[in-house]
Symmetry: C2
Subunit: 336 residues, 2 copies
């Protein structure tokens, strides 16, 4: 910067003014400075400036999701990126793999990088470790699931209602033996979806059967195995309510491997690509990950502008997308 000043024959502060577009510089002077900067390939160092600046901003936010490789997360990610990009902010992303230790470590690296804000999909662990950071003024927004131990802005869907609706949909078709295939019980959304499932069953007067609830299925393979076992049991379910994307796919693969995809109803939480092209097409409780990501990012920036904002809980609705698999009628026992 000093070199630029010298070359332009001005003081160093004038260069600073020109580079930052501050007022109070004659047009001719600014032009000389700009030329000198160009000639010297001058690239201002944003970090050095931050050192002295009163309001420090790194123009970056941290985004922690289950995995950037998951379609749901990827859609959230893109929406966050778009909002951030429109404000000239970069996104640091990372994948927690639902591991609380990993989550904490990754948040730690984000914090040490002085991100301006943090968006995270909380794992099962406790997020109280974020307290000091929040007290220091860093906006933290939870997506998909609310964290434990801290009070933050969150953007989630109404999982209980969505699950209840899905289950009620199956009950309405006459199903009485409905199985629930759940995600990791550590994850808040998984528990809520199970709650919704149970509520709907109770409301319909269908007795709970713990044999029909399988939890902690976090991969296609685990869901496949669990479904396979369930359908091979003495008193198999006539319908399945799956709590997530990968679980739904695992269940469908199991049904197909048994040739039962037209005999057992399936409603899945989360929409997924090509769900409409399968046979039967898959009925799902759809969320809008783009809206979720956008809302979360906007919340970060709103709080960045006014740190005193009260924390808000944004709850988006889900939408039942009827496609066929959820409308299969129950088979009478023994008629298979």
């Amino acid at each position: 910067m000093r070199d630029v000043a010298e070359r332009a024959g001005v003081g160093i502060k004038t260069v600073s003014r020109v580079v930052n577009g501050e007022p109070g510089v004659a047009a001719a002077t600014a032009e000389r400075v700009n030329r000198a900067a160009r000639e010297l390939h001058f690239q201002p160092d944003p970090f050095a400036g931050n050192l002295r600046r009163s309001v420090r901003r790194t123009q970056s936010i941290g985004l922690l999701l289950s995995s950037v490789d998951n379609p749901y997360c990827a859609a959230v990610h893109r929406a966050v990126e778009d909002v951030a990009e429109s404000r000239g902010v970069s996104v640091l992303s990372a994948s927690s793999d639902e591991d609380p230790q990993r989550e904490r470590a990754l948040v730690g690296t984000f914090v040490s990088r002085r991100v301006d804000g943090l968006i995270l999909s909380a794992t099962g662990g406790d997020q109280a470790y974020l307290r000091p950071e929040m007290d220091a003024g860093t906006p933290v927004v939870a997506v998909d699931r609310a964290p434990v131990g801290i009070d933050v802005d969150s953007v989630v869907v109404d999982n209980v209602a969505g699950a209840r609706g899905a289950t009620a949909h199956l009950l309405r078709r006459g199903h009485r033996r409905i199985a629930h295939l759940g995600d990791l019980s550590m994850i808040a959304t998984a528990t809520q979806r199970l709650d919704g499932f149970r509520q709907a069953a109770a409301e319909a007067g269908v007795p709970a059967d713990d044999q029909l609830v399988v939890q902690d299925l976090h991969t296609v393979e685990l869901a496949f195995d669990a479904t396979f076992r369930l359908l091979r049991s003495d008193d198999p379910p006539t319908a399945l309510f799956t709590s997530q994307n990968l679980v739904t796919i695992g269940a469908i693969r199991a049904l197909r491997s048994l040739g039962m995809q037209h005999d057992v109803a399936v409603v899945g939480f989360d929409d997924f690509a090509l769900a409409d092209l399968l046979d039967p097409a898959v009925t799902v409780v759809a969320q809008d990950p783009v809206a979720i990501g956008r809302a979360a990012a906007e919340r970060v920036f709103a709080r960045l502008e006014d740190r005193s904002l009260p924390s808000t809980q944004t709850v988006l609705a889900t939408r039942l997308v009827v496609r066929g698999s959820g409308e299969i009628a129950p088979r009478r026992r023994g008629s298979a």
Copy 2:
């Protein structure tokens, strides 16, 4: 840091030594410093240090893909993240949407953030603007497609061979009217895949028919429309070779809407989730995005350790995954 030094009753440099794990500090002193640091919630500022340090590292790399929301890109992304994370490096990601201007702007923000390395999937534009950056020693690695105007490390698949193989597969089944549905012709891989297609046809002595080559299909919708039109034409193709993920899906949707999915053969470039569950299951030329991402990231770090490395072109093979759609026999003309 000064506060910590004072509290521990040592000099500031000693604190610096302890924090950075440098040798030459008595164990007892180090212990006192660590305690003081903990008590004051001391968080070293990595950027301030970089200011004076000789070998500046931000411990971050920039990753520019078509879109983080694309399954192929997301898989590459995750692989890059894993390699980076194992080295304590964060990933800044962004989506170019195949727009050269956007690419340049996003690379600009990465560069101004002083990323230690850059991985990018080049858009159709010229990447010569990266020259100064590379001369300055920043490792740049191209994924998926080689850039234009600069000589960099690249990790790609053999698109020509893959496309040739796919086309030959269709020719072997007796198809003579094979259409090619191509991605944006600006994108290097799209051109290469078209080349492979043409080579295979020429080798088999099948005359080229420009009516059967449609380019610049970058979305499901465009591919749908193009496929629809093609099949409705006077002399429709009996087989389709689609150059990419989204194009394949668009083509399949078009075939279905015409009820022709069992009559027209399809081989797609890029594998995609659930391709095996569709009816017919989709034959594809599969790449391994995880291997690609990993190789690219490893190349960045290798070059970071030795900037004088010659640039290498890593070409991974593709694999034809036979599932059904590509094995449909040609329909005799007029027999539909």
